[in-house]
Symmetry: C2
Subunit: 356 residues, 2 copies
Amino acid sequence: MPIDKKTTTIQDVARLANVSTATVSRALSAPDRVSETTRARIAEAIRATGYTLNQAGRSLRQRSAKTILVALPDIRNPFFSSILDAIEREAAGRGFGVLVLNLYFGHETIRRLQDFLLSNRADGLLLLDGSVDMHMLRNLTGAAGSIPLVVACEEIPNSGFHTVLTDNVEAADRATQHLIDLGHRKIGHLVGPDHNIVSRERLIGYSRALARANLPALPEWQLRGNFDMESGFATAARFMALSDRPTAVFASNDESAIGFLSGLRNYGMMCPRDVSIVGFDDLGVAPHYAPPLTTMRQPRETLGRMAAEALIDLVEEPLSLSAPIRIVLRSELVVRESTSRVASIVSPQPEEIVAS
Amino acid sequence: MPIDKKTTTIQDVARLANVSTATVSRALSAPDRVSETTRARIAEAIRATGYTLNQAGRSLRQRSAKTILVALPDIRNPFFSSILDAIEREAAGRGFGVLVLNLYFGHETIRRLQDFLLSNRADGLLLLDGSVDMHMLRNLTGAAGSIPLVVACEEIPNSGFHTVLTDNVEAADRATQHLIDLGHRKIGHLVGPDHNIVSRERLIGYSRALARANLPALPEWQLRGNFDMESGFATAARFMALSDRPTAVFASNDESAIGFLSGLRNYGMMCPRDVSIVGFDDLGVAPHYAPPLTTMRQPRETLGRMAAEALIDLVEEPLSLSAPIRIVLRSELVVRESTSRVASIVSPQPEEIVAS
DNA sequence: TTGGTTTATGCAATCGATTACACGCGGCCA
DNA sequence: TGGCCGCGTGTAATCGATTGCATAAACCAA
């Protein structure tokens, strides 16, 4: 029960154990350089004083904070938060702390990023967003002696940064192919935000699958959205307004798929009876939605873990001047009930109900 | 474009501006104690050298890290992650960093908490979990000169800690009352984990509403679960096995409600036709579920923000030896389509389909 | 003009831990 | 026996910023 008025320092331990502070320090960070008996005496003194190391002192001297900075566009998004979770676990296992930073963009955010990195509060940056300006990043991490950086989830093309991601083109292709395999010939796509790399890649994969199967790729079947439920919901109205409607839709993520289905219900459209839909991400709710969602599952935990691993490796072993790391993970198609074989040609038309 | 081989320190700035380091330091932290002209010279020197402050140095001297530690049971849970989001915003606005820590419990976790707090890496603890041992916490934060602590979301009864939460009993009462108002007389409850305070409080609110309305409170209508979708799903089977089934259910959170509904569908039960259900939390998916979920919306953003505010106030103004802060927020009932008036006495029974 | 106050700045100690260098000692080999 | 090695330890400098105290200059009131 060491209730200390003032913090106990390494000095206190040294005094009690009758050694110098240097020896105490060594006993902690390089135990084999200290004799058995001294080590025991120090251990006892530490217990007696209730000493805990002051990280600020160590950081100052060693120029490392045992902390990584994770910058992400939206913590609330379950996709990111589960990656963050995996990152935290990995970091914890290796004795690193995790600072989180919301990226809203604008100058303020960049300044904050800079502050954290250049002020020795974090030893490396794990970036879960590809839309940060590449040159700015290079300036930031290149300055002040090369701060380790790993970009995860999204890619910054031609940047040469270390990257851990999934192959979105290939996965989108496979998702679309699944619909093709079910006999669908008219396949739409809920596109993500314009500027977003991931959304562009998924569009490419979708187009590639259609092209390979010689299927029509009508521009009006590419319904633009924003990766969130609200925009998926809004998209449903535009979908219903189409004169020639797809029988299946590949949504660029689960959230937009869910919003879309929610919107379609207001028109009396049933999934998969009237429209098959395949999503992306396999959110927690996907297996319990109505209907359970067919979706591409990204290995989120693996992704977060490997990204954290890579970053911490870089932090601990800064000698890596070799080629940039590039880890590409494979997503897995999870077939549930939101996709089915295309209905016979003369399927019953849904009642046309006005949206609420 | 200050590409620095070695970090630039306050010394470099001082040299260039022809002043002492003391003056540079003051120019940064107490600008009004430095003359107009000197300040300008220093500002210029800072720009020229690309100086950024070394937080480790400052922390060491000032014994404060400008960082708070947020400890939570599960980052992936959208409920927590949106609170975390609000916390981060508030902290960012006040110049504080946010360290996150997953609590898995067991000795390891406690040790990590301790490390962070006692090592000067964090100035205060924001705890989003009521199940941490109170005495241990008091030891931790009481030792080493009183580390500020705010408990949010959940309460640690009789602990006297500063707390920000919602009134779960009252909200659960109101949710149940909503079902009563719709004419339901047989109302079940998906109970959360036993040891969890929140889940206990919601059970109390449920019971209170039933008692007030003189409605039966059969023990077998309290279906135990775990706050997650899987357990909600599993609960559906037990529900179906009941000889006398409730016509409405108050679920202790949205996730279990969703899992439960998902399970019920396998038995051909329709919501709200056969069972009305009200959830808790208003997760993002709630308005877009099928059916859209009636639920109690907790003011998550407000809660996170206020908790962060309170904690940072305490960190910055440690003189508060007054009464513990206690902020109780009110939740809001959001009525959607998962609840409806009770069906007429002789409602058509659902086909009994075997669960898949 | 004088004594006192304010303002702007510098000097140097300090925060707590790490680590380069040095030293003493025992053992080993030639 | 002398020289060398390596182990265990201590001494003291160091990391970068802050701050108590001192001082000089400027200002003001009498």
